[in-house]
């Protein structure tokens, strides 16, 4: 730095730095640039004091403002919760059937219900609500216990055949394996398989067995009884399948599908939301059936 030199080729002053004969030209930066740089340094110091900055072994320095991303998220969730409070309140208050009359409330209930469904229901009923063998498909138009909004809400609230909720929907199909012979069961299987094709439920040897063993719950017309959760045997929906083996097993063992009560785990607003969502999937019923029990 001691000797000032002007570079011959460019006529520019050099900084005095030289490596193996290669010299560094001094094209000075503007001074405002330097001050801008100092400004950013000062900013970073202030920033480090105000915000979380220095990583330590367990976490980082907190910053005097006490700001954190986690806190931001919590505040956002609280804000959304507060903003939805009115919606939840009106969802809890109004008559369920009236939800669909208010587009804003319907949209809220459907979206909230979808979230509740994904979290709590999709494990058994599937993420698309299509169910599986033994787990009812919620998209179709067949309902064991009723498909109106109130029916669905009741089922969600109290569950089915569980030991927890005394108000749970309850019924039990006997294990006919203890009462009927294998031949009789085989006859009954063939008879039941023919019901959707229009076979008279009471005709023939199968009809005799049906009349004696099945009609008290499934009805003389075999169209089921929603009060008992007894399925309609004349339609095309088979919860446990309708192959020979599947039907034989159902009649022999007697199915016992359990659904837990959600009334204690979900808020009333969540129950109503998920009922609205399920009802809107395409199979929801609007008329109140005569066999439906409404809470």
């Amino acid at each position: 730095m001691s000797k000032r030199r002007i570079d011959d080729v460019t006529g520019t002053e050099t900084t005095g730095h030289e490596w193996d004969g290669i010299e560094e030209l001094n094209n000075p930066l503007p001074r405002w640039w330097l001050w801008t740089f100092y400004g950013t340094v000062a900013f970073s110091v202030v920033y480090m004091i105000l915000y979380p900055a220095i990583p330590l072994i367990n976490g980082a320095t907190g910053g005097v403002l006490g700001w954190s991303q986690r806190g931001d998220v919590a505040a956002e969730i609280a804000a959304v919760d507060a903003a939805q409070a009115d919606m939840r309140a009106s969802l809890t208050e109004v008559d369920l059937a009236a939800v669909s009359l208010n587009p804003e409330l319907l949209s809220f209930a459907t979206n909230a219900g979808a979230a509740v469904f994904r979290t709590n229901c999709s494990q058994c009923h599937g993420s698309g609500a299509a169910g599986a063998l033994g787990y009812p498909n919620l998209l179709d138009d067949a309902w064991l216990w009723g498909g109106t909004l109130e029916d669905i809400a009741y089922t969600v609230r109290h569950g089915i055949r569980n030991e927890v909720d005394p108000d749970a929907r309850y019924s039990q199909m006997p294990a006919f394996g203890e009462m009927l012979t294998e031949e009789e069961i085989a006859t009954l299987v063939a008879h039941v398989q023919s019901l959707p094709e229009g076979q008279d439920p009471l005709a023939g040897p199968g009809g005799e067995l049906f009349d004696m063993n099945c009609s008290s719950c499934h009805g003389l017309d075999a169209q089921g009884d929603r009060f008992l959760g007894a399925p309609n045997l004349t339609d095309a929906i088979w919860l446990y399948g309708n192959s020979d083996d599947q039907l034989t097993e159902v009649i022999t063992e007697g199915p016992f599908g359990v659904m837990p009560p959600w009334g204690g785990r979900l808020t009333e607003a969540e129950v109503r939301a998920v009922a609205t969502y399920v009802h809107g999937l395409g199979g929801g019923e609007t008329q109140v059936g005569e066999n439906d029990n409404i809470e």
Binding site: G11, T15, L25, N26, P28, R31, W32, G128, D235
Partner: protein, 512 residues
Amino acid sequence: MSEHSTSLYAARVPIFPRRVSGFYRNLKWWIMGLTLAVYYITPWLRWDRGPNLPDQAVLVDLANRRFYFFWIEIWPHEFYFVAGLLVMAGLGLFLFTAALGRVWCGYACPQTVWTDLFLMVERWVQGDRNARMRLRNAPMSPRKATLLGTTWTIWLLIALATGGAWVFYFTDAPTLARDLVAFQAPGVAYMTIAILTATTFIFGGFMREQICIYMCPWPRIQGAMMDEGTLTVAYRDWRGEPRGKGLRRREAASDLRVTGPQIGGRSPLIPMPGVRDTKIVGAAPAPASIAGPGDCIDCNACVNVCPMGIDIRDGQQMACITCALCIDACDQVMAKIGQPRGLIDYVALSDAPREAAGGAPIPAWRHAMRPRNFLYTGLWSLVGILLVVALFVRPDIEMTVSPIRNPTYVALSDGSVRNVYDVRLLNKHGEARQFLLSPSLGPDLTLQIEGQPGNTLTVPADTQQLTRVYLTAPPGSEAAAEDRTELRLWVVDLEGGERAHVDTVFNGKGTQ
């Protein structure tokens, strides 16, 4: 130069450009007026689009994701129009740079236009170059404080108007103007105005050439895009050198001036090691064969009018924005001393050897007629034509159909099979429209729209609507039994009569 100590940082040396008049100055006034008028007035132009759409001619509606430009409305999925415009802007920049060098910098760049405007104010309040230099060197006095205060106040008002105009492009201008005055506008509007006001005030009032030299990438890029046929502002050194003034002109022939890198401020030059041969216009000493003094009387008029504070006679340099004011200044001087104009002029680098050898100047238009410029013009026009074509063949009806695949189908109790589709329909019109949906498989399939009877659905004005549509195949039908059935969903605009279709599939029970 060796008197001051070595410093790695240099303070800005203020520049006091002198007033000049002439052809290029007038051209610049006109361009300044035009560009500023376009900027300030555009958001206030109205364009009737019907009751449901904004009536602002140019509007970037970020909240609703629409871009309105007079009769054109662009939706987010048509953003390729903006991409096309950017491609055109890029090619246009190539074309103008190849033909005219940094003409953008010199005439149309906002930094240049607003700096020019601020200089005009400064000159109007404080006087011309000499008065401003005196004022700067004078000690602080009431008069100096008044003059500086007036200048800065006017600058600040211009800056405020600049920042204020920007926000009007993003929402309805008259409404926002009322809200701004009543302090009811959104915070982001005030923040944007504050930031743009500050940048305009500082960049136009105090940083000026520093922006061009140190912050803008364009001066660095230009070197790659200009060639020896590009017209640019240059000094005809073969005509001007050796320079000299007054009585000393006689001696000047032997007194060749050594060019320094930092004449007229501390603007750095691009080091051009090869500059001393005759291929490039520069401050090279004229060939010794030329007898007598050159036309340059070293009056420094070109230096005094330069807003960048450089000496064009040093040759092409990064700091030159080619504003051409030195041409006007020099032409005035040449007229006074009875010499032909154009000692400083728009010339191409390739002109230098020819003219130095006594050849006649080539007219500017001949420089523009080069294959490179034709190529850029062709590409630019091609993209432009494609965009216009794309604009006219845009479909009026846009529908997308996505089958819901979880599950692929629903078996109903009567044995029929139902598929569900998410149908998105765009209504680009200013009023609500009714659309009729019908599946191609005819009476076999029943179509049902969620939440309403019938096959028509109403889409509100300027909206994309998502609707759930159910298609049901009766028991025993082919569609219910087959695994997949090809299907075409037709949509008809009941008012306009346009039709469109989307091909999709119907999933049946198949072989299970």
